[in-house]
């Protein structure tokens, strides 16, 4: 089940070129979406299916701002209207491709798959993009075969850092003993906490004396469908035992992550990580970039294994533990919005 009235990340703006062959297809929430740029650079998103005989428009060709289907030559303008059917003078009214609202923000391309009248750009989640002044961020992408609800559960509970990411972000059990308060927001949860007096993460251990200890100040903003915006500030270990750390700030890092369900069993995951310019040092962002890629393959391994078992044991009971408040709160919001949408939806009629 996917939320319709939501912005879905379709990737980094750099994924979408303006070249002759730059016809990008993304599977988003069970739909195949064609993305391309018009001659003025503006992004277009439309359903990747010809209304005539369902050929993918992405197998067609760009003609100015239009797309020509290369099956029977029908040409569609960027607003979805058919403007030419070779050999036919009068164009049928219903020869039209569904066009989706598309917005570029923070170097991400966002697509709205619901009611276009409700496509409010203010609903796009807060993020810091790689072009944001004051930041040094590198971007990446991974595909994972899992349902996006399991991604939500993964991201809304960082206790798994101790266990899944032992070789990368982890190196201490302390993440497993955090009991954060998750505050509800209209479309997600917001969580702040400090992990105190922990050793350097394994990927950066060699940079510090063995007995160096740190406080990690975490601020997570999650929003539907599965956006995870993380401020991750590394401080010298302070002596505060509650509230924010009072240790000196060493490395101010930021990560913007958007998980887009392709369908029930797979997701595209677009993410960045890096430091503020003030705490940047040569080499650090590349090191973080490599560690992040490795860590998300650790997630991929466990999530895809979990997915296999869930398919094998569809009725397996799922017990709750103390770390499930974040996942449940985030999924509760998602389910509430899904229910509201289902209640408001009249039975589907003709498309468009």
């Amino acid at each position: 089940m996917f939320l319709k009235n939501a912005w879905y990340c379709a990737g980094w703006d750099s994924d979408l070129g303006i070249g002759r062959d730059d016809l990008l297809v993304r599977r988003i929430a069970g739909r195949s979406i064609l993305l391309y740029r018009k001659s003025n650079g503006e992004a277009v998103a439309m359903e990747d299916i010809c209304p005539h005989r369902s050929a993918p428009l992405s197998l067609g060709r760009k003609e100015g701002d239009s797309i020509r289907c290369m099956y029977h030559g029908m040409r569609f303008a960027s607003d979805g209207r058919c403007t030419e059917i070779p050999g036919m003078q009068n164009i049928p009214e219903n020869a039209r491709v569904t066009v989706l609202p598309v917005v570029e923000k923070n170097n991400w391309v966002w697509v709205w798959i619901g009611d276009p009248a409700k496509a409010d750009p203010d609903l796009i989640c807060f993020a810091i993009g790689p072009d944001e002044p004051g930041w040094k961020l590198k971007t990446n992408h991974i595909a994972i075969d899992t349902n996006y609800r399991q991604e939500i559960a993964n991201l809304a509970d960082l206790s798994h850092v101790s266990w899944v990411h032992g070789m990368t972000f982890g190196g201490t059990d302390d993440w497993g003993y955090i009991k954060p308060k998750h505050n509800m927001t209209p479309r997600g949860v917001e969580t702040r906490y400090c992990v105190r007096n922990i050793p350097a993460p394994n990927f950066a251990k060699h940079l510090f004396p063995a007995d160096a200890r740190f406080d990690i100040q975490v601020h997570v903003r999650m929003s539907v469908p599965c956006n995870f915006i993380l401020s991750f500030a590394v401080h010298e270990a302070g002596d505060a035992t509650s509230g924010p750390t009072n240790g000196r700030l060493l490395l101010d890092t930021f990560s913007s992550q958007a998980v887009t369900p392709r369908d029930e069993g797979s997701v595209d995951y677009y993410f960045s990580w890096g430091t503020s310019e003030a705490s940047y040092m040569p080499g650090i962002v590349d090191l973080m970039h490599a560690a992040n890629a490795e860590a998300f393959h650790e997630d991929k391994r466990i999530l895809e294994g979990q997915r296999r078992r869930m398919l094998e044991y569809p009725d397996a009971p799922q017990i709750d533990i103390i770390h499930d408040a974040g996942p449940h709160r985030m999924l509760w919001i998602l389910d509430k919005l899904l229910e509201e949408e289902a209640a408001a939806t009249v039975p589907e009629g003709l498309p468009g």
Binding site: P317, D324, A325
Partner: protein
């Protein structure tokens, strides 16, 4: 989210004693059943539509089967009669996941006291303590040998020498409760289950002997355990709004809020996951969760409205 029911098949049904039937259940789909700890109970949906709670009396280390012991209560509301007369071997019935309000705590020694059908959770506790190599003694009181279920098993069980039998119709076997409880020790915990009068007698004796309340654990069979019909009503005021609502005895705080159109995120409904955690501005909660630590319970500044209640007539909560 409501209780997820599990379909189970009745693998065995046998008469365990006069008026007591024992059922062995296995998952209808052949998968393992959820793990449980000694003292846990399940809801059983009876053929006549009633839902009743029964303790799991089998070994907690087995996930392929659950075992129940059900006493026929002629004066009841028909639950036990339905269980006795309408459930047959091979039938499919529905149960809830196990819940536990009667847990073992680590201690140097445990005294288990069962009265009649109260043997069911006590038996699981004995299994667990034996498996853990822990020191314990089990005292089983019944009206007569013929009314005591699981006697055969207790006789051949690997912990047979820890079991003491006491029958009302054989005064020479009578339990000397006072003598048994005469030496309270912070490292000894007492677990009691059975009819109300039996529990009251044991608790009062322990109290008089100077037992600490935290070392005495009991579960009453007379009142249903997982609903709140035995609980008192109380009021909840929503901070900032002045809005006051009543939480009925048979209702959770979540349900009372929901009835007023106030939806709170909730998941496990057993105080495990903390999803529903809520700030308490005033009043003292009756904490029934496992999410908060003892320290957090003592602070009384938050509670889990899915299962916890109030010790004061009114709680003021922050939404």
């Amino acid at each position: 989210m409501t209780t997820a029911w599990i379909d189970v098949r009745v693998r065995e049904r046998r008469i365990a004693a006069q008026d007591i039937v024992s059922l062995v259940l296995e998952a209808a789909n052949g998968h393992p059943l959820p793990h449980f700890d000694a003292g846990a109970h399940i809801d059983l949906e009876l053929p006549n539509g009633l839902i009743r709670q029964y303790s799991l009396c089998g070994s907690p280390s087995r996930s392929d089967r659950y075992e129940l012991g059900i006493l026929r209560e002629p004066d009841g509301r028909g639950g036990s009669r339905s269980a006795h007369e309408q459930i047959h071997q091979g039938d499919i019935v529905r149960i809830s996941s196990p819940r536990n309000l009667f847990r073992l705590v680590p201690a140097r020694h445990a005294i288990l006291l069962a009265g009649g059908i109260g043997i069911t959770p006590i038996l699981a506790m004995a299994e667990r303590l034996h498996a853990d190599g822990a020191s314990f003694e089990l005292h089983y009181c019944a009206r007569s040998e013929g009314r005591a279920a699981f006697l055969d098993y207790l006789g051949v069980s690997p912990f047979a020498k820890c079991v003491h039998r006491h029958f009302d119709d054989r005064p020479d076997t009578a339990l000397d409760t006072k003598g048994l409880l005469n030496h309270p020790d912070p490292q000894t915990h007492l677990y009691v289950c059975g009819p109300g009068g039996f529990i009251d007698h044991v608790i009062n004796t322990a109290d008089a002997a100077g037992w600490q309340e935290s070392n005495v654990h009991f579960e009453r069979f007379s009142a249903p355990r997982s609903d709140h019909s035995a609980d008192d009503a109380f009021e909840v005021q929503i901070a900032g709004s002045g809005k006051v609502l009543t939480v009925r005895g048979d209702q959770t705080v979540i349900a009372a809020l929901s009835a007023q159109g106030i939806e709170i995120p909730v998941s496990c409904e057993q105080g495990i996951c903390g999803t529903c955690l809520m700030r308490v501005v005033d009043g003292i909660p009756d904490h029934r969760d496992m999410y908060l630590s003892d320290e957090e319970h003592a602070a009384n500044d938050c509670f889990t409205p899915c299962c916890s209640r109030a010790l004061t007539p009114r709680l003021i909560i922050q939404l």
